[in-house]
Symmetry: C2
Subunit: 239 residues, 2 copies
C-alpha cells in the first residue's frame, strides 16, 4: 500500500457498537475525493474478549492474552499502527505494546487527555463517565493526576446507572431512559465543580453526542474518547 | 472462538462508507445481551482496490488479484466465511472463490435476488440502481434473467446522475441533491413498469433508506443489497 496513510489495525469488539462508531467516525473524518484516498483499516471485531471490568476486579479471566493475540494477528495482516476503541481494555495496554514492540500503539487514554486539555484549558477538575473497570484500575485518575487534573467519578449509586446505560448499548437496547440517566449523573458532577465531562467509555458517546453540556448557567465541554482517538489516529497514520 | 457464530471476514473498502454501513447493520441485527453474544467480524477495509467500473470497461487494472489476496488474508486471520459489501466487485467473485476454495463466500447478488423475490413475489420487472460496472458486466441482468425477471436500468443520461450520487457518497459529500436525483431516476423506472426497486450498489442505501418508494398511486418495495447481505450473513454464520 503506498497511499498517504499507514494501515491502521483496530483491536475491536469491546463492544461492537463502539467499534462501528469509531470506524464510522474515522471514515467520515478522512479527507477524500474517492475510495482510494481513504485509509486502509484492518478490524478484528472480537466480542469474545473476556470482560474487562470483571478482570480488573479479579472476578474473571484476564483479557491480556487475547488482546496480545489480536495485536499480533493485525500486524501479521499488515497493520502498521494499532488502536483500541475501548477505554477499560487500556488497563492491559502494556500487554499489547509488549506483543508487538515494533508497532506504534495510539493510546485512547492519552488522546482523550490531550483533547481534554485542549478543549478545557486550565481545568483542575473533570468529570468521568466510564466503566467500573476503568475507575477501579484508576486509568484516568493516574493519567490526569500526571497533568495536575483531579477526576470526579460518580458515587456508587450513580455509577450503577452509568454501567446500566453502557450494558444497554451493548445489547442494542439503549434509548431515552439511558440518555437521561447519563445526563443526570453528569449534571451532578458538573454541579460539584467539574470543568469538563470526559466520556471515558466508547459506549458513552453513543448516548451523549452533544459537544457541550449545559447545567444552569454553566456549560462544559463534553470530550468524547472516540472522537479523540479518531483525531490522533488520523495524525499518527499520515506518512 | 466457540460462540454461536462462525467468524465473518469482510472484503471491504469499496467504498469505506458502505463497509461501515454493512458492519453497523450487521451488529444492530445480531440478537445479543452482551458483547460476547456478538459475531466476530474481521474487516479488511482496503480502499486501494482498483476501480471496479473502470476495470469492467477495460479502462483500468483488474481488481481480481487484490480481492483474491484480501480473501486469503482474511481466511489466514481466522475468517470462516467471507462477504463483500460491493456489488460491482462481484463481477470478480470467481477469483475470490478460487483463492479460498474451502471457505464459503456469501454472494451479495444472490442475497439481493432472494430478498427481491421475497418482497416482490411474482414481479416480472425490477428497476436497478447500480454502478456502470454492475450494468456493463450484466451481473444483475443475468442473475435476474435466470429467475424470469427483467431488469430495467436507467437511460444513459439518468445513469450519469446515479454515478454522480455514488461518487458523492465516496467523497463524503452526498446530501439532499443526490437523494433527490436518485429518487427521480427511480420514479422514471417505476413509471415504466418496475415492480421493485433494487438498490444494487452499497452506496445507494446510504441515500435511499425508505423500505418503499411511492410514485403516484403505486408503491414498490426498495430492496437494499446491504440489508439483504446482512440477513444472509447472519443465517450463514450461525453454526
Amino acid at each position: 500500500m503506498s497511499g498517504p496513510y499507514r494501515t491502521v489495525g483496530v483491536i475491536g469488539g469491546m463492544g461492537p457498537a463502539a467499534t462501528v462508531d469509531f470506524f464510522a467516525k474515522l471514515v467520515a473524518a478522512t479527507p477524500a475525493q474517492r475510495d482510494q484516498d481513504h485509509i486502509r483499516v484492518l478490524i478484528d471485531n472480537d466480542p469474545s474478549v473476556p470482560e474487562r471490568s470483571a478482570a480488573v476486579a479479579g472476578r474473571g479471566p484476564s483479557p491480556a492474552p487475547r488482546l496480545a493475540s489480536m495485536a499480533k494477528g493485525l500486524v501479521a495482516a499488515g497493520a502498521e499502527l494499532l488502536v483500541m476503541p475501548c477505554n477499560t481494555a487500556h488497563a492491559y495496554a502494556s500487554s499489547i505494546r509488549d506483543a508487538v514492540p515494533g508497532t506504534p500503539f495510539v493510546s485512547l487514554i492519552e488522546a482523550t487527555i490531550a483533547e481534554t486539555l485542549e478543549r478545557a484549558p486550565g481545568a483542575r477538575r473533570v468529570a468521568l463517565l466510564a466503566t467500573d473497570g476503568t475507575l477501579e484500575a484508576r486509568i484516568y485518575h493516574e493519567a490526569f493526576a500526571d497533568v495536575g487534573v483531579e477526576v470526579l467519578a460518580p458515587v456508587e449509586s450513580e455509577q450503577r446507572r452509568v454501567m446500566a446505560a453502557i450494558a444497554a448499548v451493548k445489547r442494542g437496547a439503549a434509548g431515552p431512559e439511558e440518555r437521561s440517566a447519563l445526563r443526570q449523573v453528569a449534571e451532578v458532577l458538573v454541579t460539584s465543580g467539574a470543568q469538563a465531562l470526559v466520556a471515558g467509555c466508547t459506549e458513552v458517546p453513543l448516548l451523549m453526542s452533544d459537544p457541550e453540556l449545559r447545567v444552569g448557567d454553566t456549560s462544559v465541554p463534553v470530550v468524547s474518547s472516540t472522537d479523540a482517538l479518531v483525531t490522533q489516529t488520523l495524525t499518527a497514520a499520515r506518512r
